[in-house]
């Protein structure tokens, strides 16, 4: 049975989505439990796979039983779970499960009467993201990318007002990204004639520095960057995620961009190789510079915003810079940092958007000035929020500290000091924002415990939202404490030969 686990990871949410679409017309109430069930199955399978991969190494699975059929190359579609993606799969399915539980109340409140297909789309989005993470075929990756993209356009367009225009812009940008990716796949395909990642990676070294391969590489990178909102393609993200319904943003922001980063890592590390990157140093320094700019721009804009949702969105933009930069340092610590940060940042962003969602649910909006007294109204939520911000700042022992640790170490090893400076700057900016919020939310109201001051009524978010939020926030600390085993047993094996974390 364990050999079927990789496909179960995908099938859980996919079948749940189809069933949920049926249920939408007969028993609308069943839509949500069905999706939760599907995600739970997927999450369990993904977690089991983490242990299997840590113990036995990569797991390959051939759809339709079409392996290489005594032929030199794989003729069907392969899905692979190895040390590079197993953590990502576990994180995506786990976060999606928690978010699905969390989203129920928000959806009932924000999308009253319009949620017929919300859970089906939610589940399809997760299917797409998991598929990108699991597939071992570069064309199949494109199809999954489109599944994730199409469902995310709709999830965003479920919002009101500006959401449609934001979704439209995202659609144009996303389609452009996907098309560039597909074209890049075409350029690789021209030279190798196969789409299987393992086969391509065995064929590529012999082809050397062919210009077509280089063009394909750049196209795939550009496509992935457009999808992940890397500078200068970041314009669509803040609008799209900030105007989306809170429940949609809570699943999109943590997962969608991170999965695109993973796709980039997969192409860089497995399909091409680190040597390939090191042999084209011009592009490396350009990308590193862009990463630093992305971090600085994201930080700067997050400082100028007054809406908590937008601030969170710009955090996402700057965090993308962390991961791209880390990957392009192309040394052991940098890659370790990038791989670790993909998981860590998914968790952090998820916790952040969950906390913001709780605030929006109770206070109606997320302008900073509306937060007055928030710490008294919803202490538990705000505690989770503070923990999350601490992780984003990089306060030990949360996971944010360790990813920053590896990234800075990698940058120091590569001598890329502007990246170090950008990382530190972004930490400081986040610290400033945290304490601005603490001041507004905590200090700027008369303390209710002093005689004569009015008591501020407790108005905590409902438990179905609060528990996932708190769990996620605690997960950040747990993840931080688990850094050493994760790096030693899994991430270090995903590094190219000769590199050590």
């Amino acid at each position: 049975m364990t050999e079927q686990l990789p496909i179960i990871v995908i099938l859980g949410p996919l079948l749940a989505a189809i069933l949920s679409a049926f249920a939408a017309w007969f028993r609308p109430k069943w839509s949500h439990p069905l999706v939760v069930l599907g995600l739970a199955v997927s999450c369990a399978a993904a977690l089991k796979l983490v242990f299997i991969v840590a113990g036995e190494g990569a797991q390959n699975y051939w759809l339709g039983g079409w392996g290489n059929q005594a032929h030199d190359y794989v003729v069907g579609i392969q899905i692979t779970v190895d040390s590079l993606n197993t953590l990502l799969l576990a994180a995506v399915s786990g976060i999606a499960l928690l978010t699905a539980l969390y989203a129920k109340r928000l959806v009932d409140a924000e999308l009253a009467g319009r949620q017929r297909y919300f859970y089906a789309l939610f589940s399809l989005l997760v299917t797409g993201l998991l598929g990108i993470g699991i597939t071992g075929d570069i064309f199949n990756l494109y199809v999954f990318m489109e599944i994730a993209a199409l469902s995310s356009y709709v999830l965003i367009a479920c919002g009101k007002g500006r959401a449609y225009m934001a979704a439209f812009n995202y659609l144009i940008m996303g389609t452009m990204g996907a098309c560039l990716y597909l074209l890049g796949v075409g350029f690789i395909f021209v030279k190798t004639g196969t789409l299987n990642i393992d086969d391509v990676s065995t064929l590529l070294p012999a082809l050397g520095q062919a210009q077509a391969l280089f063009v394909g590489f750049v196209l795939i990178l550009l496509g992935a960057w457009a999808k992940m909102a890397f500078f200068p393609f970041h314009g669509w993200l803040p609008n799209a995620y900030a105007h989306a319904p809170t429940a949609s943003a809570a699943v999109l922001a943590p997962l969608a961009t991170k999965v695109a980063v993973y796709a980039m890592l997969r192409i860089m590390v497995t399909v091409y190789s680190i040597d390939y990157i090191l042999d084209s140093p011009g592009i490396q320094s350009v990308v590193l510079l862009l990463s630093s700019i992305a971090i600085v721009v994201g930080s700067f804009f997050s400082l100028t915003q007054t809406n908590l949702k937008l601030i969170a969105c710009y955090f996402v933009v700057s965090e993308i810079g962390y991961m791209v930069g880390g990957a392009w340092l192309a040394n052991g610590p940098g890659l370790t940092g990038a791989m670790y940060h993909v998981v860590a940042d998914a968790a952090m962003t998820s916790a952040l958007f969950m906390a913001v969602g709780c605030i929006v649910y109770r206070l109606g909006q997320a302008q900073l000035n509306d937060l007055q007294g928030a710490f008294f109204k919803m202490p538990v939520t705000m505690a989770a929020f503070v923990v999350t911000m601490a992780a984003l700042i990089g306060v030990p022992p949360t996971c944010g500290f360790f990813s920053k640790w590896y990234l800075i170490q990698g940058a120091a090893q590569a001598g890329v000091w502007h990246f170090v400076a950008a990382l530190l700057l972004s930490s400081l900016v986040k610290a400033i924002i945290l304490f601005r919020i603490v001041e507004i939310g905590y200090n700027r109201v008369p303390h209710p415990a002093v005689e004569g001051n009015p008591a501020i009524p407790r108005n905590e978010a409902p438990l179905s939202m609060l528990i996932p939020t708190v769990a996620m926030a605690l997960g950040l600390i747990a993840l931080g404490l688990a850094t050493s085993p994760l790096v030693n047993t899994i991430i270090s094996k995903a590094l190219p030969d000769g590199l050590a974390p």
Binding site: F22, W62, G64, I147
Partner: protein, 347 residues
Amino acid sequence: MMPSLPIWQFDLPLLVLVVLFAVVALSIRNLMGAAIVFGAYSFMMCLIWAGMGAVDVAFTEAAVGAGVSTVFIVSTIYNTSATMKRRPGGMAFKLFIGVVVTVAGGFLLSALPDFPDWGDPNSPVNATVAPYYITHSIPDTHVPNLVTSVLADYRGFDTLLETVVVFIACIGIYSILRIEPARTSIDETDEEIAAPASYDPTDSLIVRQASRFMVPFMQLFALYVIAHGHYSPGGGFQGGVILGASLILLAVSFDLKFLLSRWREKSLMLLVATGVGLYAAVGLACLFMGGNFLDYGTLDAVLPGKQDMARSHGILLVEIGVGITVMFSMLAIHINLASNGRLERGL
């Protein structure tokens, strides 16, 4: 003796025409005109692809690109407005994008010397994995149409996902556009600027009678396309699109009410899910029979024939699933786009 010209002569004018149509479609100020030119552009593309031996692709493009896509654009414009306002300025931006795009184009062309010769049967694309399909399709799956066997079996997972994409588009467009009667009052903010109905086709007797005559033949042909996909160009997608188009024709020539009196919205949306469900269920059945997902060979226990025939039948089953989904989602997308989500009246 091969002709010395490096490309097929017929292609040259077609390729030039394609570019021309693309430019015209984008520069025409009347959007309806642009939509029609875009349809013509797609037809040109079909010809080019058919010329290169990609008949299935050409077939699909004819049905999807030239047919359904154009109808979608036209119905959108019908619901909104066909004219573009002339706005001054913005030249600098357009020029900047132009420069960027040109640089990108130059970059793409820089890889040209690296490409294998045009039409070379020994190029990596043609010589690495592809020969396997050509030599093994019959022994493996008993399907002479290689495209069908690769599509539905070797790379059946892609096709499942592709069906899912159509499914997403259908429920997505429903979620975006549909205004359910009960909800009209809730949906306050984004209301209510409906374009005047500029053209009402429902009163043309000739159109009605002609379509009434054509629809059965279209549907018959579509069923043939699906069922005979193993042996001739076509399959679930193409057949599904034609079936969908036949119903769209009904909707256009009569009106939406007429169509919806026969196909209720609920059943449409359920059928869309049914198609994907059928495909996934076949795959799942393989899983329960002890094989990998979508390994139709394991179905030989329940389907007639040996493994290769089981695969052939499995392919037919999933093609039917694809056909159902594509047909009804095309229809569902059309009725939503054509009536601006109200399903009352529209193109």
